[in-house]
């Protein structure tokens, strides 16, 4: 049990997917202008990533390794993720419309979110067991959500500040992300 807690903490804080591993930066900058969109994106990523982590792990173990097809990993994972996102979208639309209304527009974006494919590949690379894989998928995506929501809060404040013209928008966003990343950097001492 202790191992799982440690794994979770290291995935959320020390190896934070956005600020330390540099994955998923396009939605990080794209959806962080408003708090609501940031929360929606964070929820959608957590939801899809846990499912995708479990399914890609099974694909790897039961199909690719069994038939010696490891070189097709990239291609099969991206197809699995794309199909899963489509399926989740249809399922939510039909059975949980309230949740669909909240996550709807973010779901298609997740296919090309490199955090999702990245975490699935990390799970395989680190040779996690099935439970560890679930824990790491959940904590990496929570780390993503944490960083995204923190960043959206800061960014709403920046809108009120006077920023020099060439620095506006993405540019100041990146500098802010750098400062946020510096704060997360301090967790490295814990490892």
């Amino acid at each position: 049990m202790g191992d799982y807690v440690l794994l979770a903490i290291s995935c959320i804080l020390i190896n934070n997917i956005l600020l330390m591993q540099y994955l998923g930066n396009c939605p990080f900058l794209g959806t962080s202008k408003k708090m609501e969109t940031a929360v929606g994106m964070a929820m959608a990523v957590i939801f899809v990533l846990v499912l995708a982590g479990a399914i890609t792990w099974m694909t790897e173990m039961f199909i690719l390794r069994k038939f010696g097809l490891e070189y097709l990993r990239t291609m099969s994972f991206i197809l699995v993720i794309a199909a899963l996102v489509q399926f989740v979208e249809m399922f939510l639309k039909k059975s949980i419309p309230a949740l669909y209304a909240g996550l709807g527009i973010f779901l298609p974006l997740i296919t090309t979110n490199c955090a999702v494919l990245g975490v699935c590949l990390i799970n395989i690379k680190e040779e996690y067991t099935f439970i560890e894989c679930l824990v790491s998928s959940f904590s990496y995506s929570s780390g993503f959500g944490l960083a995204l929501i923190l960043f959206a809060g800061v960014r709403e404040r920046i809108l009120l500040a006077r920023v020099p013209k060439p620095l506006q928008d993405t540019s100041i966003g990146l500098v802010t992300a750098g400062l946020l990343s510096l704060a997360f950097f301090a967790f490295k001492g814990m490892a």
Partner: protein, 197 residues
């Protein structure tokens, strides 16, 4: 088509240079620019994937039905990424190890997918080739410039060779994650400043 082939090629070098003007493909831009060597390796891989996928999508654009085009593009891009992955594993193994999961992640690096959707699906083979090559080279150049800044200040070397004398204290901040964000942000600022004039 009013635009000439050369225009398609040169627009990728400044007007639509990927990480800055289109703000696409940021993750590898930040992650692989610790050293110039990694950046050039990544740049070449992206050029190959981009040119290959653009040409193939342009060739197949009459056959691909528009309803499932995104799925088709993803498969085309993933095929070329797998080819690059296997080639790098065979011929440049140390580089393959250094770039790690960022090679398979070229699939979801929005540039090849974005160009397939925005350009190759609507244009012929030769303009698509020029477009892919131009944007690919633009991307590789920006990676190299960013990597050069980070490597020179962060570890005092350029392509593995010492730049400063032995008394130079490396500015560690630059090679770590925060430095990557700040450095890219400031480069974007400089680009905006020059573009304004």
């Amino acid at each position: 088509m009013a635009k000439s082939i050369t225009q398609e090629f040169t627009k990728g070098l400044w007007n639509e240079i990927p990480p800055f003007r289109l703000v696409l493909g940021l993750c590898p831009t930040l992650a692989v620019t610790k050293t110039v060597e990694n950046a050039i390796g990544m740049g070449v891989a992206v050029i190959f994937v981009l040119v290959g996928s653009n040409v193939l999508v342009a060739m197949l654009r009459k056959i691909i039905p528009s309803k499932v085009r995104i799925a088709c593009f993803i498969i085309v891009v993933a095929t070329f990424v797998t080819v690059v992955e296997l080639l790098m594993q065979a011929y440049t193994y140390p580089l393959f190890l250094k770039l790690g999961i960022f090679i398979p992640l070229i699939v979801v690096n929005c540039i090849p997918l974005g160009r397939a959707e925005a350009f190759a699906y609507k244009n012929g083979i030769i303009p698509s080739f020029a477009d892919g090559l131009g944007l690919g080279i633009g991307y590789a150049m920006s990676l190299t410039v960013l990597a050069a800044i980070r490597e020179i200040f962060g570890s005092g070397t350029f392509y593995g060779n010492q730049v400063f004398g032995p008394s130079f204290q490396p500015f560690n901040f630059m090679v770590e994650a925060p430095g990557a964000f700040v450095c890219l942000g400031l480069m974007l600022c400089v680009m905006n400043f020059i573009g304004k004039k």
